[in-house]
Structures are given as structure tokens and as C-alpha cells.
Amino acid sequence: MTRSSKRITAIRLRGVSKRYESNGRAYPALTDVDFEAYRGNLHLLLGPSGSGKTTLLTVAAGFVAPTAGSVEIFGEALYGRDPGELQLLRAATIGFIFQSFLLIDGLSVAENVALQLRFAGVTNGAARRRTREALERVGIDGLAEKRPAELSHGERQRIAIARALAIDADVLIADEPTASLDAEQGESIIRFLHTCATDLYKCVIVASHDLRLRPYADEVVTMVGGRIAGRVHPQEERQHSGIVHAAVA
């Protein structure tokens, strides 16, 4: 995928609210959220537990319809589609990298990677080739026949990444991707997510408590109580800071 000079909006949330109801009471999880995520950018959602980060991700991925507002993926409404169409879109467009890995223990590493390709309608031969390539890329091609339960947390997270790479997902959604990993494995995943955004021109949205991600993010969105409390652009700040330093010098 070539990088265009114009920013392409991958995900857009406009005025999105989400309320859950229980015993006749409404619990707001998101309130009037506006959020845009671009191809080639890494967007980091920060905030305490219960701040609405995961809800925002599930709404953006098409799992939980908002109570109010609109969600678009590449300019088209995400909700209101036929369920089959939404599933196919998800299978072909979105890669998921979660703290719980989202792997199926009954399947081998290679089968886990190939499954989403199958759901996306990729033929068996092509799925095998793309799976092999994706596993090689994340360095676990030697573990293709193992079961996820036999692998370390870091290796398991690589399976999830390989799955996202295999389908060539335009959007990567990651929820606490480094939470179960040791420092070294965590760094490796962070660098990889950054590479996905910068080199592979993916739209990467990460919800995390891990502040190590901050320097790599194009945008840091802070959430509190289901609302967006602040936005900063660390890379722009760095560039700006660099220009100021140069001018002063």
C-alpha cells in the first residue's frame, strides 16, 4: 500500500454515545465521542479502567452498536449493514490484537491464522501461502503446528499479529496488547505496531495503560468517564520542538 500525502480516514466516530441498561438504570459507557483514526497513524487511547477505551474499540470494530451517533469505516456507515456483510467486512478489513490474544486453543498456530482468511473468502491455497508468509514475518514459522497453549504469551501475541498481517488488514485494533507480556516482548509488540502504521500504512488503534507506547503514537487520546478528555500529538510536538530548537540554535 502506498502512502498518500492526503490523510485517509479509516474510522470515524461522530457524536457516539453508548449506554447500557440494567435493572431499569442506564449506565453511560461513552458520551458524545468524536474520534477519527487515519491510515498510517498509530492512535493511542489512554485512560483508567472503566473510562470507555474498550467500549470505543468495540463500537469502532462493529461489535456494539452505539446508542447515538454514527460510525464510518472508510467513509461508509458501519452499522445498518446486513450482518453477513458486516462479518465479511470485519474478516477482510480488521485485525485484532488483544490482551487475551483471541486465539482458539483447539486449532494449531497455522490454523488460527488461516481461519480469518477463510472467513474473508480467501481460497485454501492462497490462505496457506499467506499464512506461511505471515508466520515467517513475525518469526514463528517454526511453531506452525503447535497449539497456542504450548507457546509463551509473547509467541501467542505474535500469532494474533500474524493473523492480522495475513489478511492484510487495513485497520488494526489492539486492546492492552502488551499487558500479558514481559518488558522485552512488550517492546517488540510496540515496535511492530508502530511499523504497521508507518511502513505498512495501516490504521492502528491501541487502547492501553502502557505509557511506553506514547512516543510511537501519532495521536494520544485520553478518556475519562466515557468522554474524551484530551488529545495530544506527540510526534507533531517532537517535530515542532525540533524546529524551535533549530531556530534557537
Binding site: 456494539v64 470485519r90 474478516a91 483471541l102 486453543d105 490454523e111 486492546d175
Partner: protein, 366 residues
């Protein structure tokens, strides 16, 4: 593949499930086999007797559960029709045979040696020649440890077993064959018969001969073609045993469906996160349904195979303990039950797969 791995992840549970369903299969096949065995045993005598027309006492439709008393003199009157080639008298009633160690009831059937009414098949020994001889059913002989050459008693008389017959086992009771004269002597009624079996010279005359009997002896006899008589007796067999067998087979099928649904529901609950993950990565509904139905069909198919493996040793064991229980299992039974098990499995799988729909992808989000 996934479906099989999920099942084999709990080998003990899988084995128990397969055993439960396999026993249901054995039970249903055994019940079907008994029904078929009773049907064959009940009808074989009529089927193998080469009579075109069967004459019984008026209003009697069958020999299974009907009583017919005729006087032999009528046979000669009925035969006063040039279209009739031969006519035989057969006398049937229940009596007790005393063997060396035991005694049991039989459907004692008297016929004239060389005429119609003989046992369908002699599997050992020979047919009757004299009044002090008897032919026993082979299952009866095994159960009571009586062979050709042995002596058995009927109401104080001693008869020599000269042959063993097959196709004469009604399960609850067996046929035994003696001469008509001897059986008549037992009731001290020389001219007594239960039915007449007629053979016509030309089969096209069957209807005419039947009409003639009705015209000449109005209201006196019940006259049937062989097929009508077979149908009448089959209806009696069905009326007696079918409801019971249907009930048992139905219970077996329900138990099978319950076991399958239960194990599938447990499996879905245990693998709830797998299904949620599949939904997250874009699984179509039909794929999830196929996984559950696939599991169900695998269980059903494997249990069916296990049931068939168990069936023959179980049958052999039952035959050893109760040789008179005639379970005849045909290829059609096996095919029918296999299809039924797979059908129930598919239906149970489809029902259970509805649970998958209730699983929300968001369940696995941290």
C-alpha cells in the same frame, strides 16, 4: 477438524457419551430385530404353506389371536368344486410340552403328513411320518435342551422328536407339529379342524372358488386369499407388539437426542470464548452452525459405529440366555437406524447451535 479436537479434548466424557448413544442404538436395533423376528415367525408358516385359499370359522380373521373351530366334514363338501386341486385340514391349539427338565407351552399344529400344513423348513431331522412323532421349533429345542431322537410328553403321551423346524418361532411361543390324527385324539374329537387350506388348479379361479364357498355356505366360513390371510395376521402381530416397540424405540430416540443436546450444550458453554473469537474475526453464522452440527454428527456417527460393533456380541449373549428370542436384524434396519441417528444428530446440532447465536463477541474483550 476443530469439532473432532474439541470432542477428543475430554476423552472420558466422549467415551461415556458414545457408550450411552451406542446403547440406545443397540436397544432400538434389538427392538426392531425382535419385531422383525416375531413377524417372520408369525407369518412364515402361512407364507410357506402353498395354499391359495384359507378357510376358517366365520368372523375369524387370523390364527394369531383368533379361535376357529371347523368340522372336517365340510372340507369334503367344499372340495366338491372341480376347480379345487387339493384341500388340507389343520388343527391348532395351545398345549404344554413336557421335556426332561422343563415344560413349556407351544402352538400345537396338526396336519396330515404329505399334505399342506407342514412346517415351513426342516433344519434338522425329517418331517412327520407317524402319530407318535413330533417336530419342534429349533429355538424351543435349544432352550429346553431337546434334540432329534429325544422324547417329550404331551398330556401323558410320549412322542419322539424327529425334526427341528425354523420360521416357527413367535418369540413368546413356538410352533410344534404333530399329525392331525394325534392332535384330534388329544381332544377326543376326530373330525375337528381349525382351518382348511385349499389349492386351486388355476390361480385365475381363486376368486370364483371363494365366491362359490360363500354362496354355498352363507355366513358359515371366513374365506381369504393367502395374501389377505397374511395381511390379517400381520395386522394382529402389529396390533399386539407395534405400539410397545414404537414406545421403546421412541424412548431410545428421545434419550439419544437428550444426550446429544446435553453434551453439545456443555461443549458450547465450555468453548464459549472460541465461538466469540470466531465471531470477532468475522465467522459467518453458517460456519458456527457447521461446527456444532459437525460435532453432533461426529458423535452420532461414532456412536452408531460403536453400537453396531456392540450389537452382535449383545445379540449373541441374549441368544445364549434366551434362544427363543428371535431378533432378526436386516441391512435395511441398520441403514434405517444409521440414517435416523444421523438425522437426530443433525437436528440436535441445529437446536444446540442456537445457543451460539446468543454468544456476544464482546464477551472476550478484556
Amino acid at each position: 477438524m476443530y469439532a473432532w479436537r474439541v470432542l477428543t479434548a475430554h476423552p472420558v466424557r466422549l467415551l461415556l457419551t458414545l457408550s450411552g448413544i451406542a446403547l440406545c442404538v443397540v436397544l432400538i436395533l434389538f427392538i426392531l430385530g425382535i419385531y422383525h423376528g416375531i413377524k417372520v415367525g408369525s407369518l412364515e408358516y402361512i407364507r410357506q404353506t402353498e395354499g391359495d385359499i384359507w378357510v376358517l370359522q366365520a368372523n375369524t380373521t387370523n390364527i394369531m389371536r383368533g379361535t376357529s373351530i371347523l368340522l372336517e366334514g365340510y372340507r369334503e363338501e367344499i372340495c366338491d368344486d372341480a376347480r379345487i386341486d387339493s384341500a388340507a385340514s389343520v388343527l391348532m391349539f395351545l398345549t404344554t410340552i413336557d421335556c426332561a427338565e422343563s415344560s413349556a407351552s407351544v402352538l400345537l399344529t396338526g396336519y396330515r403328513p404329505g399334505a399342506l400344513g407342514a412346517p415351513p423348513r426342516i433344519v434338522e431331522g425329517r418331517e412327520l411320518r407317524a402319530d407318535d412323532e413330533i417336530v419342534l421349533d429349533e429355538a424351543f429345542a435349544v432352550k429346553h435342551d431337546v434334540g432329534v431322537g429325544a422324547r417329550v410328553g404331551i398330556r401323558g403321551d410320549s412322542l419322539t422328536v424327529v425334526g427341528l423346524s425354523s420360521g416357527t418361532n413367535l418369540s413368546v411361543m413356538q410352533y410344534a407339529f404333530v399329525t392331525l390324527a394325534y392332535e384330534q385324539s388329544l381332544v377326543d374329537f376326530p373330525g375337528l379342524a381349525s382351518l382348511f387350506v385349499l389349492q386351486v388348479r388355476n390361480r385365475r379361479d381363486i376368486a370364483g372358488v371363494m365366491r362359490n364357498i360363500d354362496a354355498r355356505f352363507p355366513g358359515q366360513f371366513a374365506v381369504y386369499t393367502k395374501q389377505e390371510f397374511l395381511d390379517n395376521n400381520l395386522r394382529e402381530v402389529d396390533a399386539g407388539v407395534l405400539p410397545l416397540f414404537y414406545a421403546i424405540a421412541l424412548i431410545g430416540a428421545v434419550v439419544l437426542a437428550i444426550i446429544l443436546s446435553l453434551i453439545l450444550s456443555v461443549s458450547i458453554l465450555e468453548r464459549r470464548s472460541d465461538f466469540a473469537v470466531m465471531k470477532i474475526i468475522g465467522s459467518p453464522v453458517r460456519y458456527l452452525r457447521r461446527v456444532v452440527v459437525g460435532q453432533s454428527l461426529l458423535i452420532g456417527g461414532a456412536a452408531e459405529a460403536l453400537g453396531l460393533l456392540l450389537l452382535y456380541p449383545v445379540l449373541a449373549g441374549i441368544q445364549m440366555v434366551t434362544p427363543e428370542v428371535a431378533a432378526t436384524i436386516t441391512t435395511m434396519h441398520v441403514i434405517g437406524i444409521t440414517l435416523a441417528v444421523l438425522g437426530i444428530s443433525a437436528a440436535s446440532g441445529l437446536l444446540a447451535s442456537r445457543r451460539v447465536r446468543q454468544i456476544a463477541p464482546s464477551e472476550v474483550f478484556s
